[in-house]
Symmetry: C2
Subunit: 228 residues, 2 copies
């Protein structure tokens, strides 16, 4: 039975890869920068996106977001307050987003209306790593409250990421977080990875984040495709 | 393909349930209290177990632990410092523990040597919920840094738990954590669930935790089986 499941799983991943490939072409044709945000539950993906969308809108950019969750639409409602177009993807218990769900939830949107699309994945440090969503950039978030060892313990997700965002940096001292060790561990599983240190509460690190987004929009959009 | 996968998955879960049922009988025959600890990565399962094992040993109890991880054996090494017998289960990328892995890793142990066995699951708030490990009690941990909404967003894991342990309570003020709201959300997905508030750093809440373990050892050991 295990062999059959492995074979079927390979089939599912192959089909997902084909759909992701089509999505990536669509995104590139539309000149749309697409980022897939992955992390553990509670790392602060939604808070990070709330500030990002709000600041991008204030600066005249045209962001949109797709938000994956098992059950609720709390996150979509939080993000919609920014004024950006936001759609919830309810996975009904599924532990990750798939390319097919992305395609379905783009229907009726004109991609040319946006310059950046953020996809907030389901909170899970394991399963989302296997599913390409057609993104140009995969961003793995890690909060200072989770401990410096997470990249070593969940290597696949950090290894498949292009950017690591350390969140809740305002709590670093209270958590006795060793930033040097976290950076060392990130570089061990993903040599040369770009690392940002941020606080969605104080805004620390968001200037660097916006500069990075700007250079990604201006430059080669398929940072992620190059690695997969 | 989806239909075939759903059917195969049902088969895997059925086989897992049968193995878990056998394990539960073995544990009950040996008079061993078994707890399955589930949470998001970084909630502090290992720190919670470190203090638990150390304090149980100091009080003359005979605990043991199995620790699941994708890759490293860091956690087993941390827990072994307590002096308790500890074994690492390396899932090689699998996102949850299964009953078969538990059975394999008990080999060579005499269950009568222990009074309590803790199983630390892979850090994941989704997938472990479907896999019964033969435990008497499922404990879902939630740290104050993750936000009060997690029970609503990951209802299956909290709904299948018998006890909820709120960790890192020493950081509650820094995180502006609303304990009342967290309790309300936990009771919404799992009415009447026992909730403990703990800090593995300061030891807050551990007296209540040890009292609870004592009453579980003395009383009916299959709190969890009754719900599955």
């Amino acid at each position: 039975m295990t062999t059959r499941i492995v074979e079927l799983r390979k089939g599912v991943l192959k089909k997902n890869d084909e759909l992701a490939h089509e999505l990536r072409s669509r995104f590139e044709d539309a000149g749309l920068l697409v980022l897939n945000l992955v992390s553990s539950p509670g790392t602060g993906k939604t808070a990070f996106l709330e500030r990002t969308l709000r600041e991008l809108r204030a600066a005249g950019a045209r962001p949109a977001a797709l938000v994956g969750d098992l059950e609720t639409d709390n996150d979509a409602r939080r993000l919609a307050a920014s004024g950006a177009p936001v759609r919830q993807i309810n996975t009904h218990g599924r532990c990750h987003l798939e390319a097919e769900m992305i395609g379905q939830h783009l229907e009726g949107w004109n991609l040319a209306d946006f310059d950046t699309l953020f996809i907030e994945n389901v909170g899970n440090l394991v399963c989302p790593s296997s599913y390409d969503l057609g993104e140009a950039v995969r961003v793995a978030l890690l909060s200072v409250t989770e401990g410096e060892d997470k990249p070593l313990k969940y290597p696949t997700i950090f290894n498949s990421a292009d950017i690591a965002v350390i969140t809740k940096i305002d709590l670093a001292a209270a958590c006795e977080f060793d930033l040097g060790l976290a950076r060392k561990n990130l570089h061990e599983v993903r040599p040369g990875i770009t690392i940002l240190e941020t606080s969605s509460k104080t805004g620390e690190g968001f200037d660097a984040w916006h500069s990075l987004l700007e250079s990604l929009r201006a430059g080669h959009p398929s940072l992620h495709a190059a690695h997969t």
